[in-house]
Symmetry: C2
Subunit: 339 residues, 2 copies
């Protein structure tokens, strides 16, 4: 079977054709030039899904929790897509194996779509690819799109910030400190889930987390960015929502419905307070900026043998700083190619 | 005491004046516009130091190891600066406390400079600020500049890739998997250090790591980027260097001299094989690209109330994709301000 042009996949994606969805998601992930116009088209049809980010350090049990949460959402009749950002190295082949293992109870359900994406070390492409994959799944009619990420690092946090609702998962037994703080993701949490609450030391984790939240409660930190110099740009009514701490045990199946209720309640709160619009604006801005960076990188690559080469040599030999060189280059490069 | 213009700090930095160094490092970290020209100037004077990246997941004992390694380098008479990228949340105030705790045996030594930087959730600024801080310390005459990062995430990996020699620290007892693989940093390692080798389970960690290295050995993956489509762009003679695995115990003070010997041997190998030039070119390119992105972000911010606002609204309401909007914007924005 030959290559189906991406433009021809779009109508099928909008009808929910799983094969077409899988193909276009793959092209979004890989950043295929040919899919550019189709992905722009898909974006215009998206915007109905509830995007839920689920993040936590390795070992926090978030994959198991995502599976349990997905099953719970399915019982309400909603369709669920999962985009898992898998930090496995290319050596491990972890993605494919992971997809098989994780499906478990939701395997074979046509109302569930799972895709793992490896972080590739390449600059920037991951966040763009993952978010365009989310667009495809959103436009395809999935009611909830879950983005699962390891909650450390710019790329992952970038993806988590594109969610309407972000769940931060903490687990007992991973050290004395509050894991979310160590990972720098406390601020992005709309809902806290403590996993493995069948363990006796879970109460300590829950108590620590609640104490920390009581200490840090306050508006203006939602995006984890200190906005002292332009506080007005941040959504202002976060005080209406206090992130709850939900105790869960995937093993015992406990707390999963509570978690789903908290996630749904948060989305309802976003709508009621008007915060959803503010958040959408924020997401649009971040994605536009990220797209600008992608275009910039493509232009650098295209002029690599010419002007880029000359300036690069000046930087390498320390005749020109990276900043001064970039400034010259940015205003000389012309658009072109498949942009 | 008033604000000393950054241009006036530069000659003092070049003389090794610690107070001037600390000030300019702070301005680099914060991205102060006024320091732009001074930092460009400093960059032209840098390039002599051996930049060593030390990275590992939280709990791997890398801070303790960095302290021990620093003491060992000092015993050879060389001056050492440490830039620690601290993922603590703004809530924790971790940086200042951390600086005091970590100094330990190297506290008060004027041949050692330590600065912790918090990751701020802000896009991009961390890598730029950290690397310009390294320029300052390099130009100030520190023989070795150690960049310590949590080895997860784009920002941290970006900083690690700016090092000439990258040490990846693994510890026993952090899980069954190879931590470096989970964190996606196996490929950036020039030297592997296993910490806490006073523990009985350390042998398992060492054996696992060696097995994995034997399996994955091969050229072309040094930068963690699969360069299939342009293999020629990657430094080609990696086969000359096989990353050694060094067993260390900071508690017992064992293996630290071995680690230093491996780090020094790697730098010598870079020089002898000509790989150092290739690596410098790679670093120059990445920094130039990152600077381009910073400039782009500054322009977005400056046009926020005008053209950016209009396009943002089109993206928010899904009339235009982020990519299409960025494309229009990129070719309309004009330079200005303190660029």
């Amino acid at each position: 079977m030959g290559y189906v042009p991406s433009a021809d996949l779009v109508p099928k994606v909008l009808e929910g054709d799983l094969r077409a969805i899988a193909r276009l998601v793959t092209r979004a992930e890989s950043g295929v030039d040919e899919a550019r116009a189709a992905l722009d088209d898909v974006f215009r049809h998206a915007g109905r899904a509830h995007i839920v980010g689920i993040t936590g350090v390795p070992g926090s049990g978030k994959s198991t929790l995502v599976t349990a949460l997905t099953a719970a959402i399915r019982r309400t009749g909603r369709k669920v897509a999962i985009v898992a950002i898998d930090p496995s190295s290319p050596f491990s082949g972890g993605s494919i194996l992971g997809d098989r293992i994780r499906m478990g109870e939701i395997a074979g359900d046509p109302g569930v779509f799972v895709r793992s994406m490896a972080t590739r070390g390449a600059l920037g492409g991951l966040a763009r690819g993952a978010l365009e994959a989310v667009d495809v799944l959103d436009a395809a009619g999935f009611d909830v799109v879950i983005i699962e990420t390891v909650g450390v690092g710019q790329d992952e946090v970038e993806v988590a910030r594109a969610a309407h609702t972000t769940v931060v998962v903490s687990a007992p037994g991973l050290g004395d400190d509050i894991q979310a703080i160590k990972a720098g993701i406390l601020e992005v949490a709309d809902v806290h889930a403590v996993s493995k609450c069948d363990r006796p030391d879970a109460n300590r984790t829950i108590a620590d987390l609640k104490n920390m939240l009581a200490l840090s409660a306050g508006p203006g930190t939602r995006y984890g960015v200190r906005l002292a110099s332009k506080a007005g740009a941040a959504p202002g009514n976060d005080a209406a929502w206090r992130p709850p701490v939900i105790a869960t045990s995937s093993v015992r199946g406990e707390g999963i419905d509570d978690l789903l209720a908290a996630v749904d309640r948060h989305f309802a709160s976003l709508r009621e307070t008007g915060e959803l619009d503010a958040r959408r604006t924020h997401i649009a801005e971040r994605r536009m900026l990220a797209a600008g960076e992608d275009i910039l990188r493509a232009r650098f690559a295209r002029h690599r043998d010419g002007r880029v080469f000359t300036l690069l040599d000046a930087v390498r030999t320390r005749r020109l700083s990276p900043h001064a060189a970039a400034l010259r280059l940015l205003d000389e490069l012309q658009p072109g190619g498949s942009e």
